[in-house]
């Protein structure tokens, strides 16, 4: 081979009229997975992406496990500065928690719409989910500012640091979820989702539900169980 390197800039765009016959994609390949080979099927029957998401979430459990343990260890270490009992506004947080829970429901609706190949409703429900998530996040930011104004900075005491770290990490996860949701909506709109849309949506759904469940644990341990 003389020179197999091709400078992309030199390559004349030919358009999409390339000979189609020997480009035939084997049936079933169009599943949007990153996996290789002719087989559509996988050894476990679970799709690669889904399995990967499950594994990732398994790993995330330990991440939150570590953060929650840190919080539980330090929740009462605050000398005579502010602590949970002076700060929590349970009704408010319950309301935002409820919003987040509801977003799981809308996520389910989104996934179902995607399974029906109903793009319009998929977009709708994903947007609603993202909005609910955003509402939850807004609540959290509001809550943080209230705490901050009352005098609980990130470094005020150990309780504060571990609280903000834990809840902040969860918030970051919600934000990532919202970005994924909105990006998917955008890509659905412009029809740029590769492969199986239903599965893409389902995957985001898995992630979203996980983040919700983690919140339930956090809400119970951090807010409801008295320090």
């Amino acid at each position: 081979m003389s020179d197999a390197t091709i400078n992309p800039a030199d390559a004349a765009p030919v358009g999409s009229d390339a000979p189609a016959e020997h480009m035939a994609i084997p049936a079933g390949y169009d599943d949007g997975q990153d996996h290789i080979g002719l087989e559509h099927h996988t050894s476990t029957g679970l799709s690669n992406t889904k399995l990967a998401m499950w594994l990732f979430l398994g790993s995330e459990c330990l991440l939150f496990g570590g953060l929650i343990s840190t919080y539980m260890l330090y929740r009462n270490r605050r000398a005579d500065t502010l602590g949970p009992d002076q700060l929590w506004d349970i009704p408010f947080t319950s309301a935002t928690s409820f919003i987040l829970l509801m977003s799981s429901l809308t996520m389910v609706l989104g996934v179902q719409a995607a399974k029906r190949r109903d793009d319009r409703n998929t977009r709708l429900w994903l947007t609603v989910t993202a909005l609910l998530g955003g509402l939850f996040l807004a609540g959290q930011i509001y809550e943080f500012t209230v705490f901050y104004r009352e005098g609980l900075g990130f470094t005020t005491n150990l309780f504060a640091s571990s609280f903000y770290t834990l809840v902040g990490f969860h918030g970051a996860h919600v934000s990532v979820g919202i970005i994924m949701l909105m990006a998917t909506v955008g890509m659905l709109l412009r029809n740029r989702v590769h492969g199986n849309k239903a599965e893409t949506v389902e995957m985001i759904g898995l992630y979203w539900h996980f983040v919700d469940i983690v919140w339930i644990v956090i809400f119970t341990l951090v807010y409801l169980i008295p320090a």
């Binding site: 081979m1 390197t5 091709i6 390339a18 189609a20 087989e39 270490r77 005491n157 640091s161």
Partner: protein, 671 residues
């Protein structure tokens, strides 16, 4: 390259000559896809698991030399009393970075190199499940490692020891940026490990060739799978610890600040919950390698394959319940100490199973002592010594005499060097022809092995003595006053260890010499070792698509069973060779798959990886850089999301055919 098209009955694709290649015609995301097949671009943007594996290996070996040279400095300093080669500060950085480099930048990536290269081949797949993520892991590790090591030139490296106990890692006690580099560097390489773990687990679970049930999966792949699970669950734990430390050092949090009521033991728990599984992460891949090598050179199947598999899994489980054996002296209270002590003893049982099964594999075999086999046998012997000193640590009251002395240093170098490193070298010699198509020189190989064995025993053997004579570890000097005299004299044995370490270095150098002298070796035969597992059904080196057709698996040791038949009657066995590897490969070629879709190279993994050290430098020096890094990351992620993993057919100009009528496999490999 994206599409490998071999319609056997289709005529030449294009009449003209020239480079056979496909050309992207539409850009995805922001840029056209890379298409180079030679030169650095073909490596930088590749998603081929084999190229990635090779790059993993090369980078890891470079870091091995870095870590090794650091070790030599350590040994020089300790050769005599009141050493003056290094200052106290430099010494502390030296052993911290030695350990960090060896563990995180040599052994784990080297194991990842083997896993990347071999797993798809061993399970009959064409690549890993997520090739782009694979490239991401590689580059994240490479950039993370470089980032970590730049600290040497930017104000000093980390100096708190590789387990970086709090509160000694806090700013007042370690005011240079070293610990920040360490924290961020490990966060970055942690991402590499995590992504790699997800990828490889999915690959093993999902992409096995037809017929390859879990109990037919080659043992190396099994052990690598357990390793990846350990990584998957261990990495987030150290991530938490590192994040807390990062927040403490850079954002004034007080997670480990005693004055604020913090508990320094939190760090120890978090670190060792990661750290103990970590030591099995270090050794299990090597166990997998020797479990491949020993049967091949004994001409027998692995004795008790299910036992070896289950003991590996058992190690993976029990490994989570023993972390506090690193904390026997830290005042946990007698109940915890007793529990962890007993649990630690329990883990010796599944490890013992492996030693016993390897020995029984060789028992009654037909042993050929090639270099690979020598390394594998060396592992059994050396690891046993290290394992048994491990058992003496597990006896908690004795450990209070041993912990933080050189006796521990002796233990873990025997299990790490004598276990993991010898195993990795066995793998290098065994699979070299597979990867590079040439054999390594056996004479140099044997010289390599024996110098390394002699060197390691001279280096680490005496550490048992000086440790039990009470020499603590992590001391930049030792003093004549506490050295004693006579046979167990600390001074003498320290000198021996230093001399040994240089012999060891010569041994390592022999390896590099071997690589050099072997570069012009003739092509290796298809099956140089009379091997047993599936990867030997592919060519040496394998084509980009690995297998001519997806193999169907009928047995554990598939390759052996294709080559040999037992023609003995009843209990008498008589194995005759019914096919050579060349013949088997020829059959595969004749029946090759027509359509093979491979993922396309991509810019985005390396770009995304690159953003991480930028962000990290930013955290240390300037928020502006953080923003730049985040911007790069965002661009890369959107580019990634908008780019299909395998380029669409319509994106490509037709491959311009090279040599006319005959469908060219070369074409396939080169585009």
């Amino acid at each position: 390259m994206a599409i490998i098209e071999r319609p056997t009955d289709t005529p030449a694709l294009a009449p003209s000559g020239g480079a056979p290649a496909v050309t992207p015609t539409r850009s995805y995301g922001y840029l056209r896809r890379p298409v180079q097949t030679t030169g650095w671009r073909s490596w930088a943007f590749t998603v081929d698991h084999k190229k990635i594996g090779i790059m993993y290996g090369v980078a890891a070996m470079l870091f091995f030399v870095v870590g090794g040279v650091e070790a030599l400095f350590i040994r020089l300093q300790l050769a005599g009393p009141e050493g003056t080669v290094l200052s106290a500060d430099a010494y502390n950085q030296m052993f911290t970075m030695h350990a960090t480099t060896m563990v995180f930048l040599f052994v784990i990536p080297m194991a990842a190199a083997f896993a990347n290269y071999m797993i798809p081949l061993q399970i009959g797949a064409r690549d890993v499940a997520f090739p782009r993520l694979n490239a991401l892991s590689l580059w994240t590790f490479v950039f993370g490692g470089i980032f970590l090591n730049t600290s040497w030139f930017l104000g000093g490296a980390a100096d708190g020891g590789w387990f970086m106990y709090a509160p000694n890692s806090a700013v007042p006690f370690s005011p240079s940026n070293g610990v920040d580099y360490w924290t961020l560097g490990l966060l970055i390489t942690g991402i590499a490990s995590l992504v790699g773990a997800v990828n490889l687990i999915v690959t093993v679970l999902n992409m096995r060739a037809p017929g390859m049930t879990m109990m037919r999966v080659p043992i190396f792949t099994w052990m690598a799978l357990v390793t990846q699970f350990l990584l998957l669950f261990a990495m987030p734990v150290i991530t938490v610890a590192l994040v807390l430390l990062l927040f403490q050092r850079n954002y004034d949090a007080t997670f480990f600040e005693v004055a604020e009521g913090a508990d320094p033991l939190l760090w120890q728990h978090l670190f060792w919950i990661f750290g103990h599984p970590e030591v099995y992460i270090i050794v299990l891949p090597a166990f997998g390698i020797v479990s491949e090598v020993l049967p091949v050179f004994s001409k027998k199947p692995l004795f008790g394959y299910p036992f070896v598999v289950f003991s590996g899994a058992a190690i993976g489980f029990v490994g989570w319940g023993v972390w506090a054996h690193h904390m026997f002296a830290s005042g946990l209270g007698p109940i915890s100490v007793a529990v962890f002590s007993v649990a630690t003893m329990a883990i010796a049982v599944p490890t013992g199973v492996k030693i016993i099964n390897w020995t029984l594999t060789m028992w009654g075999g037909k042993l050929r002592f090639t270099t690979a086999m020598l390394f594998a046998t060396g592992l059994i012997v050396m690891f046993t010594i290290g394992g048994l000193s491990g058992v003496t640590h597990s006896v908690a009251p004795s450990d209070t005499q041993q912990t933080d002395t050189y006796y521990i240093v002796a233990h873990f170098h025997y299990v790490i060097f004598g276990g993991a490193v010898l195993g990795l070298f066995a793998g290098i010699y065994y699979w070299w022809p597979k990867v590079f198509g040439k054999l390594l020189n056996e004479s140099w190989g044997k010289a390599n092995f024996w110098t390394m064995i002699i060197g390691m025993n001279l280096t680490f053997g005496p550490m048992h003595i000086v440790g039990l004579q009470g020499q603590p570890r992590r001391m930049y000097v030792w003093t004549e006053n506490r050295a004693g005299d006579g046979f167990f004299n600390i001074g003498f044995w320290n000198l021996v260890a230093t001399i040994g370490s240089f012999i060891l270095a010569v041994g390592v150098l022999f390896f590099f010499i071997n690589v050099w002298v072997s570069r012009k070796n003739p092509p290796a035969p298809a099956d140089p070792w009379d091997a047993r597992s599936l990867e030997w059904m592919a060519e040496n080196p394998p084509k980009e698509y690995n297998f001519e057709r997806t193999p169907t698996v009928h047995a554990l040791d598939e390759m052996f069973h294709r080559k040999y038949e037992d023609v003995g009657e009843g209990d008498a066995h008589d194995y005759v060779k019914v096919a050579t590897a060349e013949e088997i490969q020829a059959v595969e070629t004749a029946n090759r798959d027509d359509h093979v879709h491979l993922p396309s190279p991509s810019y985005w993994p390396i770009v995304l990886s690159f953003s991480l050290p930028v962000i990290a430098y930013g955290i240390i020096y300037s928020t502006l850089l953080v923003i730049v890094g985040l911007a790069i990351a965002t661009v890369a992620m959107f580019g990634w999301a908008l780019e299909p993993p395998t380029a669409d057919d319509s994106e490509f100009e037709s491959p311009e055919g090279g040599d006319g009528g005959e469908p060219s496999k070369e074409l396939v490999a080169s585009v």
